[in-house]
């Protein structure tokens, strides 16, 4: 080794990785070899520069969050895809369900119940002709409900109107108390108000025609 360059040993020499014999041989060579001594100096300087490469130390919060973040990732990875995505879609799903319900409800309600409250939803389609509209109320699937309402709820307004004309009289089939127990919703009153508006718009012949239609359903008319 004395007469050969020792470049390949210099890194181990600097890192104190040589055994005693190798160390002795390298040091002996370095005393008489300017080239290897110069290379050793260069390496030493390179090591010094590399040791100046400083770390970017995360702050204490980042270290404190390290384990919770690992745990969170583990939770995410062990959940099924739909369990991860579901929370993001909850608002969209709720909105979609609401829209669907808004469309479906008017379709099913008239067939599902004879409840007077639900009958309100049958007032969706109006035509220009008041008689057609009222007849439609009588003739559609909710006809019995609608005619009962005419008889039970709105009788005062109808009778008042009819009394003015000295025309037909529509008598209630049940007591006023019972009527109010059955239908107390303000919306119902509002809807029946729309029926009386239709009455207002009728001429005498149309009105008669309408009550003829009502009579087909055995309303207590006189």
């Amino acid at each position: 080794m004395k007469n050969e360059h020792v470049y390949e040993y210099l890194i181990d020499y600097l890192e104190d990785q040589l055994d005693a014999d190798e160390m002795f041989a390298v040091e002996a060579h370095l005393t008489g070899c300017e080239s290897c001594s110069g290379e050793l100096d260069n390496l030493r300087h390179t090591f010094a520069l590399l040791n100046q490469d400083r770390l970017v130390e995360p702050d204490s919060v980042a270290w404190a969050n390290f384990l919770p973040n690992v745990r969170q990732r583990l939770d995410m990875e062990t959940k099924a895809w739909w369990q991860i995505l579901w929370p993001r879609f909850i608002p969209a799903v709720v909105a979609a369900c609401t829209v669907v319900l808004m469309f479906i409800t008017p379709i099913f309600v008239p067939f599902s119940s004879n409840n007077a409250d639900n009958w309100l939803y049958t007032f969706d389609d109006y035509h220009n002709d008041p008689y057609s509209d009222l007849s439609a109320l009588v003739n559609d699937d909710a006809d019995m409900v609608s005619t009962e309402l005419l008889a039970l709820v709105d009788q005062d307004e109808v009778i008042d109107y009819l009394d003015q004309d000295d025309a037909l009289e529509l008598w209630p089939t049940e007591s006023d108390d019972l009527i109010m127990e059955d239908v107390e919703l303000p919306e119902l009153i509002e809807e029946t108000g729309r029926v009386t508006e239709l009455f207002d718009e009728m001429d005498t012949n149309t009105r008669k025609q309408f009550f003829d239609e009502l009579n087909k359903f055995n309303l207590n008319l006189s």
Binding site: E8, I11, N42, L43, H45, T46, L49, L50, Q52, D53, R54, L55, V56, P58, A62, W63, F66, L67, N69, V70, R73, L74, E77
Partner: protein, 185 residues
Amino acid sequence: MNNTPDDITLVNRFRQGDERAFNEIVHRYKKQIYYTIFRMVRNSDDAMDLAQDTFVRAYKAIAEFNCDSSLYTWLYRIAVNLSINYMNRNKTKDWQSLDDVVKPLRSPTANPGRAIEEKELNIALRKAIQQLPEKQRAIFVLRFYQDLSHKEIAAILDRSEGSVKANYFHAIQKLKEELSEFQTR
């Protein structure tokens, strides 16, 4: 008397369902793993992300861990593989997060020339280390900064000890050349 359980004890406890043992493993090695990854990828956010990913993968693969080898060697292997994959994916990425620009140790007003020199050196070091091939970079970082033996690095990278030594030698030579500008100052 030292009551701190050794790595194998922690692994066995974790395998038996003790989640706290896993937490202890994370606390024990998170910094070493982060520092190693940061030296390779040179971006603190990504390094933190990859370090956390290292422990997630360790958690899921703990059954594959062979207790004949050391836990930290196994963790380093996961971390280095993740880092090498990251470097391969981001080969064209040659930027440094603003947070990662190391501020000079001394105040610029005290010695502006020195501050500029430190900044230049920091940039030169980053470039010099980044130009090393991925595996050579990993070997250099594990040896120079993490002080692992050639044998341990060989086990981590699944290479021969001779190959690791040769790669380390070449890495140092390249870095010496890249930093030669600073040798004469």
